[in-house]
Symmetry: D2
Subunit: 311 residues, 4 copies
């Protein structure tokens, strides 16, 4: 070791290091968590403790447009930043991201998919916070955080039912919350009284309360509140790109059941490029009815360049 003088301590330390190989076995405790091939992967993230969080930063009730817009802005970055995401749906403090069943991202490892997505979403949410809440700076003891999980759906029907489930949930919660907060804010009721009156009511009862007491036609409430937010990747507008996309589409034509053929590397690279050019847009639309899916064949085909016959 030449002229270098080592203290006893450092020497012992180095001796230990010589045994480096004997520690490496601990890697064997890492268990694989790859999802099954050919399933639709939904990663849903949820705000942690957002009830308290929304109080802390004074979110408006029942909906705070700034907070929802911020959720959408963060989701947009996720959709743009990660490949194979075909659609995303957000409501309140939750967001669902759907990877196409052909996705091989991170070898479909569940932890890697979930943690990457949650981290990316968190990063953008915090970075953009001041744009949407310029007068309410974040405080270190009250930072927004999210958790997440991945769920696999084997069929298009299961996936669509998942989307319908979240949108139906959105509708039910929003109708309840809209009624509840009007009863309190404009009707002057206490939380307890409002809660008690709403117990056991059905949709038509709540519509009636809103209309008769507050002159509110629920049907005219903002679409974002009623429907939630849907991200989709529009086909590129450029004619050249469109043609390229259609060619890709034909080459990569999928089987009768929508099975994904393995794309060649060249095809994959071209498609990725088209995806980058695709317009990511948020809409407040009904995802339950067939019409939504029929008019957007590129969602399930994972071919953002494929234009529907009319749209």
């Amino acid at each position: 070791m030449g002229g270098v003088l080592f203290s006893d301590k450092a020497f012992l330390f180095l001796l230990n290091i010589d045994g480096f190989d004997r520690y490496e076995y601990v890697k064997n405790f890492e268990q694989p968590d790859n999802l099954i091939p050919n399933t639709w992967i939904v990663v849903r993230i949820d705000g942690r403790g957002f009830h308290k969080f929304s109080d802390k930063y004074g979110f408006e009730k029942p909906n705070d447009a700034r907070a929802l817009d911020l959720m959408n802005a963060a989701a947009m970055e996720v959709v743009r930043g990660l490949p194979d995401l075909i659609i995303a749906y957000g409501v309140s403090d939750e967001y669902s991201f759907v990877f196409h069943r052909s996705s091989q991202l991170f070898e479909r490892r569940s932890s890697k998919l979930v943690s990457t997505l949650v981290s990316t979403f968190t990063a953008h949410y915090i970075y953009k916070w001041s744009t949407f809440f310029p007068s309410r700076p974040l405080e270190p003891g009250f930072l927004p955080t999210f958790d997440g999980r991945a769920v696999q759906y084997p069929s298009v029907r299961n996936l669509r039912d998942y989307m319908s489930w979240r949108q139906a949930d959105c509708h039910i919660n929003n109708l309840y919350n809209t009624t509840f907060w009007n009863m309190i804010q404009r009707g002057g009721m206490s939380n307890t009284d409002a809660e008690r009156e709403l117990q056991g009511t059905v949709s038509s009862d709540k519509n009636e309360i809103l209309f008769s007491r507050f002159g509110i036609n629920y049907n005219n409430e903002p679409e974002m509140y009623k429907k939630g937010s849907v991200y989709e990747l529009l086909p590129p507008k450029d004619t050249k790109d469109q043609t390229a996309a259609e060619e890709q589409t034909q080459e990569a034509e999928t089987g009768a059941e929508g099975e994904t053929k393995e794309l060649s590397n060249t095809q994959a690279a071209k498609l990725r490029k088209l995806q980058k050019k695709a317009n990511v847009v948020v809409k407040y639309v009904d995802v339950i009815r067939d019409e939504f899916w029929d008019r957007r064949p590129w969602i399930l085909s994972n071919q953002p360049g494929k234009l529907p016959s009319e749209s």
Copy 2:
């Protein structure tokens, strides 16, 4: 539905909603991912694309003290914010957090543990960025993100070997990097030449290069670079708390093999309180040798109040 007029579209939408129950079955696709009881849980997080990220923001080579301090600052918030973390170890852009094997946090659900921890770390890393890099504001296209995974270790030996593995890795990488960057920055070599010369060398060769060419005794390099950063929870200084902690310790005495008895709710609440008071400190010490563990019996006993006989 009283006087409320619904458009056809809204009506159809509501009709769909009436079928809400038929979507709920999609919850059954969520598969449980609870970790086995009584294993030590390590959640390791890694910076995503930090090679590129560190170039973008001009991190110093081979170590950037600001970047490491920022990692430590974010880790500190994680350790303070989540219960049952008994030790944490960071090196470069990775950090390992260890939950005590008795932890029931989130019912030991892997996705929930990993995503929560990754999100919390990301949040604080971004929030604190400007403190450590005041002159390099983050840019939206280059936000720092992290991924993570949970690994279970059945025995103390396995856990300690995991910690040793990471610290040995730290040493080996740091010695290599220190030599490599000195050869380039001070020796004027090209990356390729330095790489070629270092190929196949052992530790003593690198020590020799550092000493003979650059007068550097590796042993005198900063401890944080050589050893990595270790977070531990010190016992509370307050005598009253200390006594309380020792009483808890006796009540919660574990079995011959360190098995965890279920704590009563009261006991758990008291321990939690003590944990909050515990000092979280970062040190740059050897975690491979027995001495570290022998002098910190509270780490494995999960009783931060239990003072060692002498320290």
Copy 3:
């Protein structure tokens, strides 16, 4: 405890028993292994050490009809004995059993499905052994055993490709083995010489060897050897049952993508009854081509009573 006298030992034993509750926690270490809903479940079982086993009991090469018939006989009992099996495919010492994707058998627990199926198959294989090998009684040191595993397939295409994979494997192995053993048994070659000559040959080469040297047209070899064995459940012949089945079919009609609606208990009971009446038959047919599946719509619909329009 009245007049009963207990020895010290028994007393201590009973004292321990009083602590019964404190052992029950060990149940929490059992981890759920339920398969995802709505996937096709294939349980494939394989003979353990059947190379040695077939030598021990003098199986004929390259195929032993008695051994294959015994495999089929054991498989028949599995198909008859367990619900929701829609098709089974056997070749050599392996058998694949397919549960319909709507199956809820054992709550779709993987261990339970696999172990039950393997145990049932083993039981019948041993019980029927003497019928197929009357002059070769089993010896205790050489009992036949099987292992197994469950695999999930999300789509019909994946399931059909699995079946095609096994049948293609059957073909390739049988062509090889038929050629190899003819070269040895009739051509008088050594194992090593035959192996060397066959190395690198394609199908047409082997066909040529069989034809030119041994006058064998591979096409005329027994179908069971070339195609493997397919179990299917035929629709009931009885007109009354058939009508009942068709009614069930209409009630339980599946969605556009063949999604399974939850059957009412009554419907499920009726279907189960029809399944019991269904004829389980083994055939040696091509399962790769569409024709097989087109003519047997009841396989994928899990409605054994549903007659195809023409067959």
Copy 4:
């Protein structure tokens, strides 16, 4: 293809086969199910529908010695036939087999371990049936079958508690059943009346009923019924083997926490040989108390040749 004439059908079939490679992707749907390293693996098997099965073949109530002896005989073959099993415990129609935590059998794949063990047990149970029930031949519609599952225990305490749980269960059930069947068989009560009277009773009540009504001191009941059956591997009697075993023991010395060092291939082979020579004996003893484990250090050390200081 030389002179071989193929029918169209065969030709099409072969064409499909040429596409063999395109089916192989279905192997990717097989998910790994390896258990974590260094955990104690318990595989518990249970008779399927043994209530009905025992009625069918006229098992005596509350215990049938022939049936229990048959279970033990089948278990003996499992213990002899599979490596790394350190202890087995049987009661009624269930049996638990424990693999040493160092076992690498089948790469610790759960399905493979469970299905192999269940199949082996089933095979021997059926094969030996006629020895234990010479006058009750098995009938094909009523063959005995078993299911099974694997559970991991991280610590010796957890494993011992598992064993204690099963034995406590054995005691509780046997005391109940002994009392119940005496009330019916000798007391002339109806099932319903006996059940009603026993509801809510504790151990001492049942002991009192047995003693006062039927003159039975439960303590004198057969040990096999009260304690269940324990298989253990005794150290070899041969002095030479014993010395060899002790040498192995020293070479393979385990760490402070009983960590398993990787054995060299030679060491593993020697140990395997010693295991084969070990006497497998069944006993009806208390596994709850420390004494059992203290006197059999070879169980947990997985070194059957290591003699305890005194036994």
